[in-house]
Symmetry: C2
Subunit: 303 residues, 2 copies
């Protein structure tokens, strides 16, 4: 059997089945694992960025360094945690110059400084192509991390900002379209929404960051929480550009906005948009002018 | 400038200089970072295994899975900690079959079970060549982790078992020599010395695991502790084989024995060998029949 026959999520599901339920911790199935730590809990996540998949040889190393840490910080934000420490494992491709590493590290450490995250260790090896692995550790008061599995029927679905700008920027880059620098920046230099997530900490019932795409990440909440989600197309704050279609923006990943469910009577902080609600059933239903809309397969597939 | 001009340790040293001193944690410079956690401390380490560098396409995936976790557990053992949780980031090379992953995971999880370590998460991506990143988290009572930087002049240098078997096994494998299965097993299926390290927890002043090779790892203790180390060639328990020379065994890595310094009046548990002493000065001096011996450059270099 090929790995593509089961896909990335199938593979993770299989591995999850093989693992034992941990003591003093919550394991596979959310943006971060949770480890008990006195009156606190630690949030831990690991992400890989692979040359030829997530970035290419001609990438700006400074921006890649920024993004490598930013997307991991976003995983801590996705559970309403505070990012604290990180580890960097750099497998450095043949032909990478010292200057490239210097720029990469500057980007990485600039983001670390901005978010008060300390680099505590890691590994450096040579390799055929460059592979970057970042481990992030965040913290929270005990029991205060917001999971993706706890949405309740009747909750509202909210998002912290525009959807699809990263995909539009990716398209501009891929098709060599001049200009659109602000969109390209959204794709190349994403901002983890740490403070935005914290604004929801007392009203959110479930939370995730939008890395796989709005539809797919709504699907993660729905599946984990064993509920359905209805999204109102007309309420979604699509990115203000026509370089990508709304359909593409619904499916494109890497916006790193916070997607959450909140109690229906909650007072929403400024800057958030109500885009749907949690209903009985399963999966994500998209409503446009009151009618169900079907989208083709959404989200990036690794295998 | 090329990365090879400064080498792996030079690169780590440079990155260390760029990073800020963390609060509530001890960062780069030991087998694990230390994070405060109530009345405990967590030990965290990250290691990469890269196809074409650490293993080759024809590797037995079950044994690779075992080794991937075992060497990380050894990093926790190296500070007299208890391994608890791990994360696995698998970047899976083109053409790797599902069956390969199944065998790899079986090996990984067999070792996890043996050492009571729980897999809490990770990442799966595709890539050109397979790269395996493991993050291990161990724990200890607060202040009880043994660092490499705290050896004192007058201490004895001890080791938990035979030196050079892994290198001898590697040689047998590389040169396609038949037999020598027990040596090949030492290289392919290393045992982390968690219990052995714990036996020293009340008498060790500094500790490390032998991953880079006896001479190089003695050098790490010497440099971090700002002391010199004298090793007595005749006291070293060399691996019982003539497939590799004693010189090679002194430099070959991956034995994963515990190397420690202990107080000179300590009562040593069974199974440990006194092989040297901590002296004023710097670096490692090897004494054979009372005379200083010079070895050529020891240990594996990545760049």
């Amino acid at each position: 059997m090929k790995i593509s026959d089961i896909g990335e999520f199938g593979l993770i599901e299989e591995i999850k089945k093989l693992t034992k339920k941990p003591k003093g911790a919550v394991g596979i199935g959310d943006d971060c694992a949770i480890i008990e730590c006195g009156d606190k809990e630690l949030l831990v996540s690991v992400d890989a960025l692979v040359e030829g998949i997530h970035f290419f040889e001609d990438v700006n190393p400074y921006l890649l360094g920024r993004k490598s840490l930013a997307v991991n910080i976003s995983d801590v934000a996705a559970m309403a945690g505070i990012p604290r420490w990180c580890f960097l494992s750099l497998s450095i491709g043949k032909g990478v110059a010292k200057q490239w590493i210097d720029s990469f590290m500057k980007g990485f450490l600039d983001v670390a400084e901005k978010y008060n995250v300390y680099l505590l260790g890691g590994d450096t090896t040579s390799s055929e192509k460059t592979v970057i692995n970042v481990t992030i550790i965040g913290e929270n008061k005990k029991g205060k991390s917001i999971k993706r599995s706890t949405a309740k029927i009747g909750d509202l679905v909210v998002v912290s900002g525009m959807i699809g700008c990263s995909f539009a920027g990716f398209k501009a880059l891929k098709d060599n379209i001049e200009g659109f620098e602000w969109l390209k920046d959204k794709h190349l230099n994403p901002k983890p929404m740490v403070e935005e997530a914290l604004k929801l900490k007392d009203i959110a019932t479930a939370m995730i960051d939008i890395s796989d795409g709005l539809i797919q990440d709504c699907g993660h909440i729905a599946k984990s929480s064993k509920v359905g989600i209805e999204l109102f197309w007309d309420k979604i704050p699509f990115c203000d550009t026509d370089i990508a279609t709304e359909e593409e923006m619904l499916c494109g990943g890497e916006d790193y906005q916070i997607l959450a469910t909140v109690k229906s009577d909650a007072i929403l902080p400024d800057g958030f948009y109500v885009i749907g609600r949690v209903v009985e059933g399963e999966g994500v239903v998209l409503l446009k002018d009151g009618k169900k809309v079907k989208l083709k397969d959404c989200g990036y597939r690794h295998f």
